[in-house]
Symmetry: C2
DNA sequence: TTGCAGACCGAACGAGCGTCCGGTACAATT
DNA sequence: AATTGTACCGGACGCTCGTTCGGTCTGCAA
């Protein structure tokens, strides 16, 4: 109930994140979390009302970390294109460093957990992205398209790019990554820069 | 075992697709498919080895439909940009007409079902997209980037765009759609066309 | 020192899950 | 007429799931 994150509570969240990546949403029963985290079943239900709520709180937990990563090294004085590329790379790097996240994130986004949530409940992460994009439009650097659309497109491609690279199904090195970023920028920028 | 699709088999697939959209991967037990489809449990296990295989076969089933839709109205003699936009719109329209598909598709892609499959087993749909993109590169219309990367980016944005629109969380009409297509094209095209 | 609150434990429970299997119906083959 | 094969049925089985609950331990307030 309390909002302070005890050691056990974090262990539960991190373990669940990892297990969901490996076994999917289905296929990660509480019993598995118990075994892997070393936390008793009762403790889990002490911290979280039920399994659904655990997953929803995990989403918030992950989302906040993403937001922190996205903001890193952002210099408001720098040219917008530079800031834009920095944000995108931050996102990409975050997923690379936390490979459990993107899979869970996309599973959640595509699940009824998310689908059935009210529009208003857009999270802090997306809100930040939206306002960042809006800034770019107002300053004339981005195409004057609904910022929410651009924002979703932006964060989606960051995840997709990570997945392309991590899958191993398609080989992608540093060169390919630079190319992808260029594609995104050329698509959204008001004027071609290359 | 046989590959011919009987009425019941299709009923099972379509019902499962719909239920997964509504309740997610987890949260759609066989018993629910039984109730909604009117097919007996025994029959399901007559047609599909087990639940996992049912879901995998559903993915193939859906994928083939997508491929057919993607190809529609493609005129090899037409200018590449036109063909490209047509393909993208076909994809988008397919998802709009079959709203159960994209959610299931993304859930599957992000699940261990797909993650754990060998690289070689890329399906007919992606193979088609890849070769289409490769053609565009060879003819000098697209940036010379790994065609598999462009292909994934292309099909991902089609799904994302549909979701943006269908969610209702972000309003997107015909104008916005045209803008999105333009963004994609500007991103991947060798030279800016607008 | 007593008492209460909160973090934590894990055996136990009932519901519901995936799956099996003995059976029917009907068409094609012999 | 007998046999075989295939599509289909639905009750039953065992197992595992999410969740509960009676309990212990620790630290702080009274």
């Amino acid at each position: 109930m309390t909002d302070n994150f005890t050691e056990k509570k974090i262990a539960i969240l991190e373990t669940t994140l990892e297990l969901i990546k490996e076994n999917g949403f289905h296929g990660t029963p509480i019993s598995m979390v118990v075994k892997k985290s070393g936390v008793a079943a009762g403790t889990i239900y002490h911290h979280f009302e039920n399994k659904d709520r655990l997953i929803c709180e995990l989403f918030s937990y992950v989302t906040e970390k993403m937001l922190a990563a996205a903001k890193e090294g952002d210099d408001e004085a720098a040219p917008y294109e530079e800031r834009f590329l920095n944000l995108w790379k931050n996102l990409y790097n975050f997923h690379t460093k936390n490979p459990n996240v993107p899979l869970f994130f996309d599973q959640y986004i595509n699940s009824p957990y998310f689908e059935k949530k009210p529009k208003e409940e857009i999270n802090c992460f997306h809100r930040y992205i939206f306002s960042f994009i809006r800034e770019g439009i107002n300053q004339g650097h981005l195409k004057p398209v609904n910022p929410e659309i651009l924002g979703v497109l932006l964060s989606t491609t960051a995840i997709t790019s990570f997945k392309i690279q991590s899958h191993g199904k398609i080989k992608a090195g540093a060169t390919e990554l630079e190319q992808i970023i260029q594609i995104i920028w050329d698509g959204v920028a008001r004027e071609k820069t290359s």
